[in-house]
């Protein structure tokens, strides 16, 4: 019931920015639905195949910012074959044809082509912000179009994309009149850039806050760039190969001292071990530090730097920091909220870099910690129980024990009790990744206690279908479930078909589901796209009619959708 004119309601809605809240608002009544849809500025589409560009434009004619995600999460680990899908071209074409005044496009795990980027750059006069995360399919030529044609470009943020670097002059394509840049992140490019053009661009961009360079930008250039941009807040260092006390080094140190706004440091893609000391003057102000690519910097240098970073909120680091280093973090970084520890030795070769002790130390020392990603070689239930007691505030808890099926290394028991303690204590847990030796029991705990859980990643875990059923029945807020190499089959898959309407997607690979089971699911749930990805055997699936019911499916990806079967699937994807 509206007692206010629409404009007033719309003004109130302006204060509601989270898309989930806006989704809720739109369900209140027809009038609110209508007001909300015309006023929504930022649209978030978590699965590009759940809907279509046409439906997007029909519902939200006035949006300015679009976020699209394509491939499933496990595509990050090469589990989704090349060519599966996630093409942005149809979206850009549709938006270009319409009258949408697109200003921001954020894509994750999508296939972007130079053609798409060119079309994008020419179609939207006020386009300001392009953020590409884990995308592929384009080259520096596409970037050149963006640089050349987007007159008001503020953000060009390329994170971990696979970009074909033609070593061209894309940076020189920014016109001399372009002064609006706020974010420039090209750390993932592999090739040389035009350093002169880069310097001039930085020098004429007074609003530049975030600059992340790639590995081919040498030390001398870094020094000059920082001198041009003392207002910088986020810096991604490319290459830092130097002899100490060289002139460039001194100039860099002088420039760093002037960067009083610097709060975030990352990069160090090629870094000499002692280079960190140049950044000590800014440590006390740093809130974010990402040294996870700096494999050459050993633990002691890392520690010497971190000792001064008392305000750190976010730390991404390699396990070369060791348990001792994590203890230093625990005693220094009392504001720490997010920690990621990546492995240097990928396959458990022997140097036990970080263990359960490091994790316990962090949990004890950092009261504000709510997100953790921790790669390690060993874990114990006792440690996890202690962590749970110390830190009941976890929102994201991702533990990856490198060796699959590895039990508690002290008791040889499965890690069910440890993870059970985590889900029981952390009432706000939204994301969980489990690893190590796990039985159905851990899933019983998860189903029982993880009431807020939205995303769960399972690998090499569980005994029977019961495990998966506990999760599906218990976790009412589950949105994304991804499972690999676990013994869950048709019984679990088919138990509650309607559950999948409440979820964004389910991924199951190297499990026990059969083709027959998937077909039955597809029949029961026509509002799902049930995709079978079978790179090697797609011919065989159709031929062996007698046995197909029992034939195991290698990769299953299913997701709710309002637009039915997609038309761009490659031959090795079979949509039931």
């Amino acid at each position: 019931m509206n007692y206010f004119p629409d404009e007033v309601i719309e003004h109130v809605f302006d204060f509601v920015t989270s898309h989930r809240d806006r989704n809720s608002i739109s369900l209140v009544c027809k009038s609110w639905f209508k007001i909300e849809r015309y006023s929504r500025q930022n649209v978030f589409i978590g699965n590009c195949y759940a809907t279509s560009p046409e439906r997007l434009l029909r519902r939200f004619p006035c949006f300015k910012s679009l976020t699209l995600k394509g491939k499933p999460h496990f595509a990050d680990f090469n589990l989704v074959p090349h060519g599966w899908g996630g093409f942005v071209q149809p979206w850009i074409e549709a938006l270009a044809r319409s009258r949408v005044g697109l200003e921001e496009l954020r894509l994750k795990r999508m296939v972007v082509t130079d053609e798409s980027l060119e079309l994008l750059s020419r179609s939207f006069v006020n386009f300001k912000s392009l953020v590409l995360v884990s995308c592929e399919g384009f080259s520096t030529d596409g970037l050149a179009s963006i640089a050349a044609n987007c007159r008001h470009l503020q953000d060009l943020d390329l994170q971990e994309n696979d970009i074909d670097d033609h070593r061209g002059q894309w940076l020189s394509c920014f016109p001399e009149t372009s002064t609006t840049l706020v974010t420039l992140n090209f750390a993932c490019l592999e090739g040389e850039t035009n350093l002169v053009a880069l310097e001039r661009l930085v020098a004429r961009s007074p609003n530049l806050r975030s600059l992340k360079l790639n590995r081919t930008v040498p030390l001398e250039a870094l020094a000059r760039l920082m001198a041009c941009a003392p207002q910088i807040v986020e810096l991604g260092v490319g290459s830092y190969e130097d002899e100490q006390d060289s002139e460039s080094c001194l100039r860099l140190q002088a420039a760093i001292r002037k960067c009083t706004s610097l709060r975030s440091l990352s990069g160090f893609l090629e870094a000499a071990p002692h280079c960190l000391s140049a950044f000590q003057p800014v440590c006390h102000n740093l809130t974010s530090l990402n040294l996870s690519y700096a494999a050459e910097i050993n633990g002691s240098h890392l520690i010497r730097l971190i000792e001064h970073c008392k305000k750190l909120q976010r730390l991404w680091i390699l396990d070369s920091i060791g348990d001792k280093g994590l203890e230093v973090v625990a005693s220094t970084c009392k504001e720490l909220q997010e920690l990621r520890v990546f492995p240097t030795d990928l396959h458990g070769g022997g140097n036990a870099a970080v263990t359960e002790d490091g994790l316990v130390a962090i949990s004890a020392g950092c009261p504000k910690l709510h997100s953790i990603l921790y790669f390690c070689q060993q874990m114990t239930n006792e440690a996890l129980i202690t962590v749970a007691k110390n830190c009941p505030n976890f929102i994201r808890f991702r533990l990856c024990i490198l060796e699959p099926h590895k039990p508690d290394h002290v008791t040889s028991q499965p890690l069910d009790e440890g993870f059970g303690a985590i889900v029981q204590a952390c009432k706000n847990l939204k994301r969980l990744s489990v690893s190590g030796l796990l039985t159905d029991q851990v899933f019983l705990y998860i189903g029982m206690f993880a009431t807020q859980l939205e995303m769960l990643s399972i690998a090499f875990a569980g005994d029977t279908d019961k495990g998966m059923l506990y999760v599906l029945n218990g976790c009412k807020k589950m949105r994304k479930l991804e499972i690999r190499d676990s013994p869950f089959g048709d019984a679990a898959l088919l138990a509650d078909v309607n559950k999948y309407e409440t979820m964004r997607s389910l991924w199951m690979s190297s499990c026990e589901v059969t083709l027959g089971g998937c077909k039955r699911l597809a029949q029961k749930a026509p509002w799902l796209n049930v995709e079978i990805i079978n790179e090697n055997d797609n011919n065989r699936m159709e031929e062996e009619n007698g046995y197909e019911g029992r034939q195991k499916v290698d990769k299953l990806y299913l997701y709710r959708t309002v637009v039915g079967t997609r038309v761009d699937a490659p031959p090795f994807v079979w949509i039931l």
């Binding site: 589990l79 090349h82 893609l269 494999a295 990928l346 490198l402 005994d463 190499d485 013994p487």
Partner: protein, 249 residues
């Protein structure tokens, strides 16, 4: 992964798992050249640990590491054990769960460092890591395109130790036996060195783009140096390649 056993494409694990499954199913200790010792030990609460060690292993890594544990559920039986077994984390596709971008970055860093000043302590560490890296398989995916085929592929170069296995894999990927007329059957086998030989006998030649952006013929330099400088691969028609070669000379 590569070498001895009859495994074709190195980019998926399914062949390896199938190999193990068939060994397990037949319950005979030696099958396909792999000897598996299966020992069951009873833990607490009747929980069973299943240890599987590879005695004669075609892959270089797992022979060095201790046997990995694998869950054995009594009800599910031996086959499921084999199915869900992961011999070593280094051999499983997509494990550990680290983004390809980061994996490639780590491997490249290890190589670069090893070529630098030999006296730093860092190089010692890196050499250890690099030895581990060559023993264990982190991925190095590069693009492969073939003239006339619009959709490219990706291949994990670290799955190979020599040009021959790379060539074999590329053949499996791009030249299916019943579609290409240029392959020749001799003694029932496909000619194996189709792409490496630049003499034009197959009409195709394998080239790569190196760090400096130049296109080079595959096979001239030792494998390790090739790995260190290759950015992507391209299977060209010989006519184009020789034309280009003439221009370079």
């Amino acid at each position: 992964m590569e070498g001895g056993s009859a495994i074709g494409s190195a980019s998926t694990l399914s062949n390896d798992e199938n190999l193990v499954v068939s060994s397990e199913d037949s319950s005979s200790p030696t099958e396909n050249g792999l000897e598996l010792r299966l020992t069951l030990s009873l833990g607490r609460k009747g929980y069973r640990d299943c240890r599987v060690s590879h005695v004669d292993d075609s892959s270089s890594s797992s022979s060095a590491t201790p046997s990995s544990l694998s869950r054995a559920s009594v009800t599910a039986g031996i086959k499921r054990t084999a199915d869900s077994m992961a011999p070593t984390s280094g051999q499983v596709v997509g494990w550990p769960p680290i983004r390809t971008y980061r994996m490639n970055s780590m491997v490249n860093q290890a190589k670069t460092l090893a070529m630098e000043d030999p006296n730093t302590e860092v190089r010692q560490e890196v050499n250890n890591n690099r030895d581990d890296a060559t023993k264990m398989r982190s991925s190095m995916f590069v693009k492969v395109t073939m003239d006339g085929i619009p959709i490219g592929r990706k291949i994990d170069l670290n799955a190979h130790k020599c040009y021959e296995s790379l060539s074999n894999t590329l053949e499996d990927m791009f030249l299916k036996p019943n579609t290409v007329s240029s392959t020749q059957e001799t003694d029932g086998h496909l000619e194996t060195r189709l792409k490496i030989l630049p003499d034009g006998s197959s009409g195709l030649v394998l080239t790569y783009e190196d760090k400096e952006g130049d296109w080079m013929l595959v096979g001239d330099v030792p494998w390790r140096i090739f790995i260190g400088s290759v950015k992507r691969l391209r299977i060209m028609k010989t006519s184009e390649a020789t034309g280009a070669a003439k221009m370079n000379l």
